[in-house]
Symmetry: C2
Subunit: 390 residues, 2 copies
């Protein structure tokens, strides 16, 4: 008996209307689904391509109820949402994936680390640090990384303290401290898992960070590591998602240590910035893959067809307001360049306004081209800040 | 001095809100554009992903004026629209591409053939046939193809008369008759051309038609022809678009004759069904390419990364009404399969409801998989027609 789906194939609800939801909504349309987005910003990036938009905060219980009630499956594009309300809605029988109980663990970095520890997932040694305490930091030993339990992303909520001299830079929040891992590279592996336990693993990719800042500068896919290291990274990532019984696409961030060990840094219960290159470079992209997983459809092929480099387009420092896209023509003139703009009505310093994927049969050439794009393409504002009015 | 674009990069208007406009709108969003669609059907496929929808017929002059006035560039996703009104709006200075004067030529199959003849583009010998006349048909000689001047698509408006015995099957309309070309294969080549004259050519693809019907059964990319034949096909197609001074993406349909000659069958002033595989298989897909062309942006790389086969999903005969998608799970379980559904609220026999692209490193395996998908995936209706009610 062949499978049968009504039309729309599913009504998909997404908590969060940012760029991840925007790209997911496009994939949802392709698969014959309709989309409702819940986001506090009218005209959010995803609302521009979704059928319905509930304008509400991620913590409004009534709005979340409305969303799940009008959706066959509800998912999310960010972690900082109300997992307790979602868990109680799931307990009523609403299909919400990944499981809000798993979200509750992942969105709390201490619980996340404890889960890794419990399941034997390799991760940096850590201790709970409910109140930052100079003696306790010293007793744990430097160099260390302090992490807030909640609300961190893109490097926020994380402090690296190389020695006791850095004490003044600690975060005055409840959290944990973990051993600072000297590493060769930071890697990310996307893992998709469906309710039946089917698993698909994307290639390991390499995250290159801006010196000093904990903000992704460029992503190199596939990572320039050995075949064995790639396999190890994929295995560790898949095991982490499996033991957590995750359903959907998960971005697993990893360290490759100097001794060649693979250690899990953290996990995101959603599609991931490091996976945007899959749109151009892989047979099935991460957004369609996530939908296939949460809709219990068979997972797609993760084969990468061509090397890729990925660059985030951040709002230019000193520029606030209506965006002005500088250098678009010059960037698009480079073969293999795809520019993705997210439809955000205003720019501000370092805001994620878009990304660029560069594909090239030669990975180092892809990287060179991405570096050129970085110098060419800038998101400024039509009226720069601090311009003296005369 | 770097190029500068406001945000949105452009307000794109599209006459026609079908699947081509739907896929174009998604590309437009990615490039930072907003989209207004003009289509008579509320909730048309493209309107589901566009900012604005003008619900109007393609021949309503006031609505067309409204569309071009609120768009920085206007384009179209079908030929059967009011080229005269668009030409007068273009004469006022509105940017409408491809040029409505070229559209007026292409939408009239007699004028199109005469343009080919004038510019020395190889095409089947033909004569004008304003009123079908049995003696004139006989004088021209059989086998022949009769074509209506206007309104034909997907094989409508075309009659193949093998001999005088077929006279009764002729079309009672003004048109032309042309020599029936015995051919090895039917090919299509997508050509993109920008206002500056920059040209990018996609691979030659092979169209396989259902025996008897003039409806595309499957598309094979790249075409299984020699390198020389590929080059010839690309050159002839590019020359056709160049001499017509086309701007945008054009689908050029060609015959490869038994003697190895390349002959132009007809040209579409728009993205083309035969180019849907470019979304998965080429660096820059036909929809982004079309937008780059009409927006005077540099054209993208047309390299094909992996072989592909493409299948249209047509409404199942005997089924009218709300769609029921049968076999989706089974189709998606085949590696390399991407299903595109167009968001049409009702199905009817042979209506284009979606398409499937299959990529595989081995072209014949892609074709086999597409054949399997064809037998698995069907668009039926929730209540089949002619079901006796008891």
């Amino acid at each position: 008996m062949a499978s049968q789906h009504p039309y729309p194939v599913a009504r998909v609800g997404i908590v969060g209307g940012g760029q991840l939801a925007r790209m997911m909504a496009k994939s949802a349309k392709r698969l014959g689904c309709t989309v409702t987005v819940l986001d506090p910003t009218p005209g959010s990036p995803a609302a521009q391509v979704a059928e319905n938009h509930i304008v509400a905060n991620y913590f409004e219980a009534d709005a979340l109820r409305k969303l799940v009630e009008q959706s066959d499956v509800t998912t999310y594009d960010l972690e900082n949402i109300d997992s307790a309300v979602l868990a109680s809605l799931a307990a009523e029988g609403h299909r919400i994936l990944p499981d809000p109980k798993l979200l509750a663990i992942i969105q709390d970095k201490l619980l996340q680390k404890q889960a890794f520890e419990k399941h034997g997932i390799p991760t940096a040694p850590f201790i709970s640090m409910p109140e930052p305490n100079q003696e306790a930091f010293a007793a744990f030993g430097y160099p260390l990384v302090q992490k807030a339990r909640r609300g961190g992303y893109d490097g926020r909520g994380v402090a690296v303290l190389k020695s006791e001299k850095d004490w003044s830079t600690h975060l005055p929040v409840s959290g944990l401290v973990e051993r600072y891992i000297e590493h060769e590279k930071e890697l990310a592996v996307l893992v998709a898992r469906s309710p039946s336990g089917e698993i698909k693993i994307y290639p390991a990719v390499e995250m290159v960070f801006l010196p000093g800042a904990n903000v992704l500068d460029m992503l190199i896919a596939p990572a320039r590591i050995s075949e064995k290291q790639t396999k190890d990274a994929q295995q560790v990532a898949a095991r982490a998602v499996t033991v957590l019984e995750g359903v959907g696409v998960f971005g697993v961030e990893l360290f490759l240590t100097h001794s060649g060990e693979i250690i899990v840094n953290e996990i995101s219960p959603r599609t991931h910035n490091s996976g945007h290159y899959t749109i151009e470079a892989c047979v099935t992209d991460q957004f369609e893959q996530h939908l296939r997983a949460v809709l219990s459809l068979p997972l797609g092929d993760t084969t990468q067809l061509i090397p890729a480099a990925l660059l985030n387009l951040l709002g230019e420092p000193g520029h606030n307001g209506t965006p002005l896209v500088e250098g678009l023509d010059e960037a698009l003139a480079i073969p293999g360049v795809s520019v993705h703009l997210y439809g955000k009505a205003t720019t501000s310093p370092y805001r994620k306004m878009g990304h660029v994927t560069v594909v090239d049969a030669d990975l180092s050439r892809a990287q060179e081209k991405a570096t050129r794009v970085k110098s060419l393409l800038r998101i400024k504002a039509t009226v720069p800040e601090n311009v003296p009015t005369r």
